[in-house]
């Protein structure tokens, strides 16, 4: 039994602090609140933060190491949607990943779009349909269906995988939340999305979308990019407490290390004018209620003693952390006992099933003469990519693409099919000579390569194959490599080391002229064929909206006929 006396205790019901004392062992046994008295305690006690929409693989790490990295920031419970591991390994590897130990509590949402597209558009490693949902629902740590992205499936009259998965989940876990992803959907379409059973959204919000979606019964999960002055104002409406929470969605390793986790989102909201007591509510109680985690999220009898001892409410600085009533962290010494990663089965560490490639595998040949070719036009502010048109003059079946302001881009299939490589061109990529190849390339995690020459591309891809997964950086002078051993997407290294490596990748991209808000993620989603408008997969260029493969050589000539 631990007792904390003369402290300020967060009162979830009244969204305020009471002076008093607190007793707990694994759970809280008693809270003595001196409602009327003024106190002089140095510490404030708040519940541990709860992040209910996030992808561990965005931090390129295991559950165990994520626990080490996120706990010191006060995150004591997460609900993870391991969409990436599922895409690489399917349910077997997903479950092996889920079984890894951690100190913070990890619950899971079933990835609902594995793969997000079809075998016609890309090759992936995993597959989730009703049968896999039934299997995963047998686990007690599965408490939600992960973000439903394909709104059109919900609107369709005919049976489809999305509807099957929702029905199966409802039958296996009645009353459990079904999470959504519905950017820019509104009006009757929004109603149909919600009536389809999906009643949360974590995409970027505006004051208008907040009002419409919450009025329509949605629960909003507010990630950092939604935390702006005007959205925070909208959320501060006194009526909205409990109707939204904060979440992280994706946090890159170096960002996690340098800037923090859910605490960073909370602090940003406070900096835009949300009161600290409302911000705590939205990062503890509200997410717990959304996930039906009735055993936590407030400091009250019977609740799990996940407690943050705050020594400065202005900065939310954490002095110490109790998890299940045990002090597991203090700010002077860090974690008492960091998690160690157990030995992992070899099969998950040797998953890049591809023979080394050569320059002849990159067929960029083209008939001689002047052509308009289809290129990916990258945007520097967003992850949007446009269908570009560029005139090139071909001689001897080739042209100097780098001199024309282009990079070669390809997604090399890595699931053992040895599929022919289908390279294409990208504008606004690397401006200095070099190549980057990554097996962390959403969602299918084939080997995405971007290069200023075919030779460099081949070297980068082969580095990733040799090392069985990771990120290769190659230029004339030197090469470097970030190992991502687990499925080619997750590092087995400690977070500080990994963070430094990813910072290195980011700097390399910057040095090579790759412009983006978040360079590493921006590069990785060039392979994501559900995000508009033109992406690369192992099958070639993907027209995202029309769901078809395009030929860069002929597209503009035939455009009139096709579209």
């Amino acid at each position: 039994m631990t007792t904390l006396k003369n402290v300020w205790i967060y009162n979830t019901a009244y969204r305020a602090f009471d002076f008093g004392s607190l007793e707990f062992d694994k759970t809280i046994t008693h809270v003595e609140r001196q409602f009327e008295e003024e106190g002089t305690g140095a510490y404030a006690i708040i519940p541990g933060f709860i992040d209910i929409h996030m992808h561990i693989e965005s931090s390129m790490t295991t559950v165990s190491e994520f626990s080490n990295a996120a706990l010191p920031h006060g995150t004591t419970t997460i609900v993870a949607d391991c969409h990436e591991v599922a895409n690489v390994f399917g349910v077997e590897g997903l479950q092996a990943f889920m079984d890894l130990p951690s100190v913070l509590d990890v619950f899971y949402a079933i990835p609902s779009s594995v793969p997000a597209t079809s075998a016609e558009l890309e090759t992936s490693g995993g597959f989730i349909d009703s049968e896999q949902v039934i299997q995963l629902c047998k686990r007690d740590d599965v408490i939600a269906l992960g973000e439903i992205m394909n709104a059109n499936d919900l609107f369709s009259e005919s049976p489809n995988r999305t509807k099957r998965i929702i029905e199966t989940f409802k039958a296996c876990k009645p009353g459990f939340p079904i999470e959504g992803h519905c950017p820019k959907i509104s009006g009757e379409q929004l109603s149909r999305f919600i009536a389809g059973g999906v009643d949360s959204d974590h995409t970027e919000q505006t004051p208008e979308s907040i009002r419409e979606k919450i009025s329509a019964g949605m629960f909003l999960e507010i990630q950092q990019k939604s935390v702006k002055k005007e959205t925070v104002e909208a959320l501060c409406d006194e009526y909205l407490a409990g109707k939204f929470c904060f979440c992280t969605d994706d946090v890159m390793p170096d960002v996690l290390q340098a800037k923090g986790h859910l605490d960073a989102v909370v602090k940003q909201a406070i900096s835009y004018g949300m009161s600290i007591t409302e911000a705590i509510y939205a990062s503890t109680y509200s997410p717990a209620m959304r996930m039906r985690l009735f055993d936590r999220g407030q400091i009250a009898p019977g609740k799990i003693a996940d407690l943050l001892v705050i020594d400065d409410l202005e900065t939310l600085h954490i002095k110490a952390i109790f998890k299940n009533g045990v002090m597991i962290y203090d700010s002077s010494n860090g974690l008492v006992t960091p998690m160690k990663l157990p030995l992992l089965p070899e099969k998950y560490l040797h998953s890049i099933k591809r023979q080394k490639i050569g320059t002849k595998d990159f067929d960029l040949s083209c008939p001689d003469g002047k052509h308009d070719i289809l290129i990916i036009e990258k945007d520097s502010a967003t992850t949007f990519t446009r269908k570009g048109r560029q005139s090139v003059m071909v001689q001897d079946n080739a042209f100097d693409f780098f001199a024309s302001g282009l990079n070669v881009i390809a997604c090399v299939e890595r699931y053992g099919k040895e599929s022919p490589i289908k390279p294409a061109f990208l504008k606004n990529g690397l401006k200095k000579s070099g190549a980057i190849c990554s097996s962390w390339a959403h969602d299918s995690h084939n080997l995405l390569v971007l290069a200023t020459s075919v030779e460099l591309a081949v070297r980068a891809v082969n580095l990733v194959i040799e090392n069985q997964g990771g990120i290769a950086l190659v230029d004339e002078k030197k090469e470097s490599f970030v190992p991502l051993a687990y499925g080619g997407i997750v590092s087995l290294e400690p977070m500080p080391k990994l963070a430094k490596r990813i910072e290195g990748v980011r700097k390399w991209l910057q040095l090579h002229g790759y412009e983006a808000k978040e360079e590493v993620m921006n590069f990785a989603v060039l392979a994501l064929p559900v995000s508009p408008e033109l992406k690369i997969s192992d099958k070639g260029l993907v027209d995202v909206l029309q769901k078809r493969i395009l030929d860069w050589r002929t597209y503009w000539n035939e455009e009139g006929k096709i579209s």
Copy 2:
């Protein structure tokens, strides 16, 4: 598909009304909210009322007839704790009762104190322990564990039925609510009660108990007796929305008919200053969330179309009601299709297993001389009963008790044991000659009789036995009878007829000088041996707090030795 245009639609998220239109079939398909526009609609649409703590048997009727009676008052969903039927018939009869059809949605909480005492203190018909909980949990309509009353069981270190039942329920229905009954419990005891797993309370509250209990994580179900000026003020704190709801607990038939159902509680709260928009929240959304009824309680896409069309927001007058999208009531014509009661198995209609009795069965003999006897002293303001002391002068083994200001009281066992009758005396009962006997006598529903003479008592008891359950009223001039055929506690008659009969009982009690706030219930709980301090059971006088049977002849003589 039904469309309601140009109406004011309750916005649960913002606790306000928006002008707009509404489309629904069985569920709501679309809500068009014109956030910025002023409208001129005549009607306001609000969700149906949800009553999550109530006992149907308090209205002495079946689920089916209750549905007919409560629906016109806007109650579209109830969570019933059929504690009384369970006490009479056990799980078999309970399930038969639960299987009766209704138009409003009925969910069930498992009665958790059946019987509330032990076989030493009274004879009852039903029994619920782990095994019965497992059986009942197989039903989808069972969504809660009903009010846990025995706080001492929770505090005890040793195993007991209450703890077993809670553990069993948690295992069978993880995450489902466990309801509580904890009047006057506070401080560390309250913490232990809540930590025991019970986190709601529906007993009478004060502003202080509201603050303490809600701060401790409890959900409060506010019944009419808690709706006072000062408690409503406490509940109107902007932070407390969602932390409490309104409920009815017990509504007698004549009160239901004359004053309404949950709507009456809502209107009373409004009369004490709660805004109508907050009162609607607390009678629709908040109770739905407490019971994890995520499919209802707000007007939003995908939710069940249980809708009240209000034509006067001041009086909350209901113009029409839609249940599951179908108009089932309008104020001019009443219910479109009232429920008809199906044929009930005979065994539940012949449940008074007792041979007729005679005056010799009432042994009130006493040794001659002056004695101090133990009597029940009834209070007229509450249901509290005190241990009274009265000097009587006995001649020929008897005394004229009515002349001494006393009534004879007895609880005649009716479960086939033919147990000897153990009569005693009560002060402040009937002041005019007469007898009342009722098989509706909480919680065990033996035949409770109160009379000014033994002869009248015998006549009243025999009337109830002959008619197989009900309430008999007897005096020198005439006798009347209210049949309660189902288990002796539930009427098969239509509510208007039953209400009139119960009004008759109430008037009879008033005419005979029986003083109480709620005469019929006050009488019935004279047999309730869990409500302090001295009650009557078939075993005799029950010392409620010390859980023992007392002898009225010897108690005061032996008091020094016993207590």
